[in-house]
C-alpha cells in the first residue's frame, strides 16, 4: 500500500495541511495536526483497504447525486476492502485528503487544483470528496450509517471491519449514543470506532463549554470494549487497533491527542481558545512559513 512509515505519513499530513492553510488563507489545521498519527497508523499499520479505485487527479465537480446521474463517490479512493474507513467529522476532510496524498492515492497537485471552486476537495467534505464516504458535516451521522452497514455486512457474510473515525465533539450529540446503543445491542464485532479526543470545540475547550468526561466509562457503560491511548503515539495506536481486531464486542479506541502538535503557533491558539478554524494572522503566517522551512 505504501512504503512509508506511519511517522512519515503523519509528518506529511501536517506539512500538507499547513500548506493548504497558508494557500487558502484558512483551514482546519488543528484537526489535521492532532489526528495525523491516527490516520497514519490506520493507513500504514491497520487497514486492509485494497487498491484505490479513484483517479489520482479527481474529476471536476459535476453535480450532487440526482436522478439522472450518480455523482462520483469518495469511497472509490478507499478501495474495495475488506476494510472500510468512514470519516465522521467532515471538518477533517483536509486531514483525509493529505493522508491520501501521502500514501499515494491522490496526486499532490490535487490539494491545490481541486480545493477551490468546482473541485471535489471541499473544505467541509461531502461524499463526493476523495476518501469520504458520508456527507457528515452535520455531526454525528456517519456512525449510525456505519452501524447499518456493519449489520448489513454481517448478514451478507462479508469479511473485514468498518472503522469509524469520530471526534469527541460528536459525543455531545444524542444521535451518537443512539448509534452506540444499537451497535452494542447487535453485538457488532465488525465495527470499530476510533475517537480523536482533542478536547476542543468551536467555542473553546470542551471541559469549559460542555463537559463530556468520563468518555471511557460512558462507552463501557454502553457495552463497548474500550482502549485508551496517547493519540499522537503511532505504536500505542497501532497496538490498540490490533487488539481491537480480535475483540468479541464493538470496540472504541479513545485517542487523547494534542491538536497543537507540529507548529508552535497552534499552542498559543489553544491557550487563547481559538483553534477550531485557523485564519492566519500575518505574524502567524510568517512564523508558520519559517517553521515549514525546517520540516
Amino acid at each position: 500500500m505504501t512504503n512509508k512509515s506511519a511517522a512519515e505519513v503523519a509528518r506529511d499530513i501536517r506539512v500538507s495541511a499547513a500548506r493548504w492553510t497558508i494557500r487558502a488563507n484558512g483551514g482546519y489545521l488543528a484537526q489535521a495536526c492532532g489526528s495525523a498519527e491516527i490516520f497514519a497508523s490506520l493507513y500504514c499499520n491497520v487497514l486492509d483497504l485494497g487498491p484505490s479505485k479513484g483517479p489520482m487527479q479527481p474529476p471536476k465537480f459535476v453535480s450532487v447525486p440526482n436522478k439522472s446521474r450518480q455523482e462520483i463517490n469518495g469511497e472509490l479512493w478507499l478501495g474495495e476492502g475488506p476494510d472500510l474507513l468512514v470519516l465522521s467529522p467532515a471538518h477533517y476532510g483536509t486531514a483525509q485528503y493529505c493522508a491520501l496524498v501521502s500514501i499515494g492515492r491522490l496526486d499532490e497537485s490535487a490539494l491545490i487544483s481541486e480545493s477551490s471552486d468546482g473541485g471535489l476537495l471541499e473544505l467541509i467534505a461531502a461524499e463526493h470528496s476523495p476518501g469520504v464516504v458520508v456527507s457528515a458535516g452535520s455531526l454525528a451521522t456517519a456512525l449510525g450509517i456505519s452501524v447499518g452497514r456493519a449489520m448489513a455486512r454481517r448478514l451478507q457474510k462479508k469479511a473485514g471491519d468498518i472503522w469509524v473515525f469520530l471526534s469527541d465533539g460528536e459525543l455531545q450529540e444524542g444521535a451518537t449514543w443512539e448509534s452506540l446503543q444499537l451497535a452494542s445491542a447487535e453485538a457488532l464485532t465488525n465495527l470499530k470506532v476510533i475517537v480523536d479526543i482533542n478536547g476542543m470545540q468551536v467555542d473553546g475547550p470542551m471541559k469549559e463549554i460542555m463537559p463530556i468526561e468520563p468518555i471511557g466509562d460512558k462507552f463501557a457503560a454502553f457495552g463497548w470494549q474500550v482502549f485508551e491511548v496517547d493519540g499522537n503515539d503511532v505504536d500505542a495506536i497501532t497496538a490498540a487497533c490490533k487488539k481491537a481486531q480480535s475483540s468479541d464486542k464493538p470496540v472504541a479506541i479513545l485517542c487523547r491527542t494534542k491538536p497543537w502538535t507540529g507548529f508552535t503557533f497552534l499552542k498559543k491558539r489553544w491557550d487563547d481558545k481559538k483553534l477550531h478554524f485557523i485564519r492566519l494572522t500575518e505574524s502567524e503566517r510568517d512564523d508558520l512559513e519559517k517553521e515549514m522551512a525546517t520540516k
Partner: protein, 328 residues
Amino acid sequence: MISKPFAAALVEHGKKHKDVVVITNDLTASCEADEFAAAFPDRAFKGGMAEQNLALTLSGFAREGMRPIYPSFAVFTTRRPYEQIALSIAYPNLPVRLVGFLPGLTTPGGVSHQAIDDIGLMKQLPNMTVIEASDASDMSSILEQTYLIDGPVYIRALRGLVPKLHQNPISIGQSREIFQGGKVLVLVSGSLTAAAINVVSELRKEFADLALININTIKPFGDPHLFAQIKAAQTVITYENHLVTSGLASEVAMHLAQNPGPRLIPVGINDTFTHGGGLDYLLNFYGIDAEALKNAIYVAYGKAGTSTKSSDHIGGKIELNKGVAEGL
C-alpha cells in the same frame, strides 16, 4: 457596510428585556452572541452540540414565561431539531426566537452547512412567523420589532459585515417598495437584496416601469400595497437564496393561484442539493447571480436574455466574510 449589527442589537435587547435569555449550541461568537454572553453571563447558556435537546430546553424556558433566543447556523437552527421545534415550540405556540445565520449559499461549507430549505421548513409549521433580514437595518431592529409577537418566530439572519440598504427599522408584515413601476415587478428577499437593487436600478434605464419590492415577512405573507402592486403587474419575478419550491416563490405562487393575474418567473435554487465553494461561483453555478435576475427581467419584457454558462468561474478562490468570528 455595518459590522456585526446583530451582536449590538442582542445586547440592547437584553438590556431592555430581562426575560430574554440566549442559548447557543457551539457557535456563540460565530453567531454574534458572545457580546450578549459577556454582558449578561447569567442569561447566556451553552447547550452543547445537542440541537434536539436544545430546542426542548427553549420550550422549557418559554413555558416558564421567558423569551429564549437560539442563534445558530440556519441548518442547525431548523433542520437538525425539526421535530422538537414542531411539537414542542410551534404546536404550543411558544414565544421562542430561532435565528438562522448563513442563509442559502452564503457559506462555502457545502451541503451540510447551506440552508436552502430553512424558510420552507419553518413556514410550513402552523403558528410560526418567518422573517428574512436583507440588511443591517433589519438585523439591528428585528429582535425589538418581533418582541411582542406572542408565538414562535424564525429569523433568517445575516452576520459579519452586512450592507445597510434601508433607512428605517424593519416593520413586520410590511414590504419595502424600493423602485415604483408597473409592468414587471421584482420581489426580492434576504441576502440577494443588494444585488437586486443594483440590477433593477441599472435596467430601469432601459425599462422605466421596472419595479422592485423587498419582502422581509415571508409568513404571514403580504400587505395590501404589495397585493395591489402584484395585481397591477403583468409579470412578477421572485429572487431568493433558497429553493424556489418552498420559499418566496411558493408564497407568491399560492397568492397568484387564488388571485390570478400576472405570470410568475421564479429565480432561486431549482430543486437540487448544493455543494461547497465561493459565493460568486455558487450564485452563478446555481443560477441565482445578478445575471440570472437580468435574464429573467429581459424574458419578462419579451427580449432574449444574455445567458451565462454555469461553470465559468471554476478555479476561483474561496473568499470568507472577513467580518465574522472564526468558524464557518
